[in-house]
Symmetry: C2
């Protein structure tokens, strides 16, 4: 028996057990390799990776240390008697291995895997294996099974509502923050829209990052319900809601791996929306050579897939294929994007027209979920709500209700990337722009990012600014500059 | 700038950086997820996972803590000034993603991936992704490329020898420790055999575990050369040799994942043998319904693959397909297996005949690598060396030279698993026997394991013992017993 100690280390979803190298109870000499153990003594055994410590201030030979994750899971006080054993493979290990071997898994098999993930019986390494193995080949019914499994047990119920709407973009397009504008319009119209947004995964800013510049995006279920009751709209970081936890773990591993696989994205998005109690969803599928989805054929396959999964799980999905050939809006990065959003809501002349039009189009599709609205009227109603100032007024109420954020600053280190010749902007590479924005610090500092002054089709003179880099830290600034000097992401044709 | 601190934690090949939650230099609040950082200040940047600490005895807000792995890699003294930045993806991340997407990789791409793995730029999670992605689909030339990459830069040269031999079994057969007997015979004959053995991955005991019962299996290159010079044979744990390090890392991750993929095994084995300077290899491919290789067709595919890779890398390979339908020998687990081996070398009557015959057959194949030996004579020469006592004498010299191990005890907790009826042993399931042995503690305690008293074809009476379970710890003993009660692994037919 060892005495339990809490070692105050946060390892981000990995359970770690710390044992002193001179531990008498267990023969540490035989541990030469990555080893998973089970810790006994609490209501259920907890799985953890074993790490060996040679510092008695961390753990003494008679103690078993657990990091934050494992300590919380074991749910015993410090000093409790605990024991450990080598962990067998998790119950679903055989299923994981069948998937690695290229088999099709059943619905109950996906459910077993997800159950093990949520119970902390999979390490991040196991989860990575599952993602890579399943990402390389999944049938439509497997995507359905995975989606069902990811929903989990806790679903938000909206008993007073017939329709609960949301919007999601399958992404990869820098600057594309239609969601915030759509929420303002839809809420002003009166349909309930509890927008579950996410933080950036691999992009400069997620919708939750951008809205966090304006308001507090944290919410539990009670707060979300209150927000929707009062204002019909809310934009919250879904990571702060206690729903679809497996989906969060999976996303966290995908982010660390730098991978994003279409079938997982579809499963994960739909699971979150279903767990949030959404009944009607507009899904934006942007297509372009540097978008995540490269061809209309691919977009069509995704549309069919989400329609199938949506129908089986009784969520109405309007999947819309849109133009993803260049960034949307001018700002890239949370503060600059929030500026664009507010310019649109305030009907400012300098508001980016592409972001404005796209938002109206998508908001219109959502409004048409309302049976009372005549087909084809959605766009016009959305436009009227925006131009009348009702969208702005609703947004201000939403911001106030969620909690206004302190004023955020745009990164003060700036440099203009200019055109070397006269011509027309022929194309803008989403990947390259995103990469430069990330290097400029956008995924770390809300104020960092890019401000695009020219878009496709614009004329430029030699020396005229294409975009401005904003950074907060000098090292980020240097990285972004040298990367942009290598390839600005803009192609300028010489013909005028 | 932060002050470097060594945090004495061994995380088994994972680099960890510890930052205090109140660190002023870096905004920890923005870290919500698995995050890789680069640590600057040393000769090359070191990649690590960031963990957040809330205990000043581990790190203070002005310090950056590094675990053993990362501290060694950074190679700076405590107190040195270091800084950190968010890590970009490792240089070969794009290649990894191409493999995940199902592409064929080139030789230089495999080399880039392996270079990143050895340099510590891949986390275990990244390595797992690479293994799963490449395991699902690899062409023969990809296996060749991976093998070449895994060999690494440090190859042992045997300038005085024309032929350097070794033997390897593709495994999965409990008890099958031919290697030790073969080494004694071959060394007694006079061919140099530096047997690079491994510790158990998923089995009850690896060859290195079993030989460790008899002798010290640790050796550096100088010691190995001295051993071969003096006695022509040695059996060492290849993990203690500074060769094929990438292969060790990869095996460690595979072990933790509980996966073993044929192409990786082939690459890894051949890379280790080539790095050890072996010129001629006998490869045992056991086939059976509960062997790792299930059919002769599969064994043939593996034979063709290793012949192709061997030819391209100039190592002579004699791949032999053998019977893997049941365990080989009586003992399962290091001490019991070592007992069998010594019984054979001592020409004892109770020596297991199947292990004896298989060892003579394989040793004979190795002896026939000697151009001076007439074809078909190998087996007879091997038999003569064994029965004359020369193999035992050589083994005793090898054990003495490597360092005799202290006497090991067989697990004292025993139980006989008996037959419930009269009949003939129809089959023995390798997986089930291995599983019961592992549960009995064999992979943790050398003295634990199973002693098989009946083999396929033997007659049994009701109540007669099929095998005996040996455990060291009471909990292992209970697990193994209950598992064996569920399914003993033996099938007894009622016909006599």
């Amino acid at each position: 028996m060892l005495s339990l100690k809490h070692v105050a280390i946060n390892s981000f979803n990995e359970n770690i057990a710390y044992l002193h190298k001179d531990c008498d109870t267990y023969k540490i000499d035989d541990i030469r390799d990555v080893t998973k153990v089970e810790i006994h003594g609490g209501p259920v055994p907890v799985y953890a990776f074993l790490e060996i410590v040679d510092d008695e201030t961390i753990v003494s030979p008679g103690e078993l240390g657990l990091n934050n994750e494992a300590f919380l899971r074991l749910n015993l006080p410090e000093g409790a008697n605990v024991s450990l054993s080598l962990a067998g493979l998790p119950p679903s290990a055989g299923i994981l291995q069948r998937k690695i071997a290229g088999n099709i898994l059943s619905s109950s098999e996906y459910s077993s895997v997800v159950k093990d993930i949520v119970a902390g019986r999979y390490s991040n390494m196991d989860i990575a294996s599952f993602l890579v193995a399943s990402g390389s080949f999944m049938t439509a019914s497997e995507v359905l099974s995975l989606t069902e499994a990811l929903i989990g047990d806790d679903v938000i119920r909206w008993d007073d509502e017939n329709i609960v709407v949301d919007h999601h973009c399958l992404g990869g397009i820098p600057g594309n923050k239609t969601d915030i504008i759509i929420t303002a319009i839809v809420a002003a119209y009166g349909l309930p829209m509890p927008k579950t947004a996410s933080r950036s995964l691999t992009s400069c800013a997620g919708v939750a990052d951008t809205f966090a510049v304006l308001a507090n995006v944290e919410a539990d279920e009670a707060k979300l319900k209150k927000l929707i009751k009062e204002n019909r709209g809310a934009i919250v970081d879904y990571n702060t809601l206690p729903i679809a936890n497996a989906s969060k773990i999976v996303s966290s591993v995908e982010r660390a791996l730098g991978i994003s696989q279409q079938q997982h994205i579809v499963s994960s998005i739909l699971a979150i929306k279903l767990a949030a109690g959404v009944t009607h969803l507009v899904l934006d599928i942007p297509v372009g050579p540097s978008s995540r989805i490269k061809s209309t054929a691919e977009a069509m396959r995704i549309r069919k897939l989400v329609e199938y999964v949506g129908d089986m799980l009784s969520i109405e999905i309007d999947a819309v294929i849109t133009d993803g050939s260049e960034p949307i809006g001018n700002g890239i990065g949370a503060v600059l994007e929030a500026r664009d959003v507010m310019r649109i809501l305030r009907n400012k002349e300098e508001a980016p027209q592409d972001l404005l039009e796209k938002s109206l189009f998508l908001a219109g599709r959502i409004l048409e979920f309302d049976p009372k609205l005549r087909g084809g009227q959605g766009y016009h109603v959305a436009k009227e709500i925006l131009s009348s100032g009702r969208a702005l007024e609703t947004m201000n109420r939403i911001i106030y209700a969620q909690g206004k954020a302190p004023q955020a600053q745009i990164g003060h280190l700036t440099r203009d990337i200019v055109s070397s010749r006269a011509g027309v902007v022929e194309s803008i590479d989403n990947h390259q722009i995103n990469k430069i924005g990330v290097l400029a610090g956008a995924s770390q500092y809300p104020g960092a990012g890019l401000d695009l002054l020219k878009k496709v089709g614009d004329f430029v003179e030699p020396g005229e600014t294409l975009y401005r880099i904003h950074s907060v830290s000098a090292s980020d600034f240097a990285f972004a500059n040298s990367y942009a000097d290598g390839d600005s992401g803009y192609e300028i044709s010489s013909k005028r």
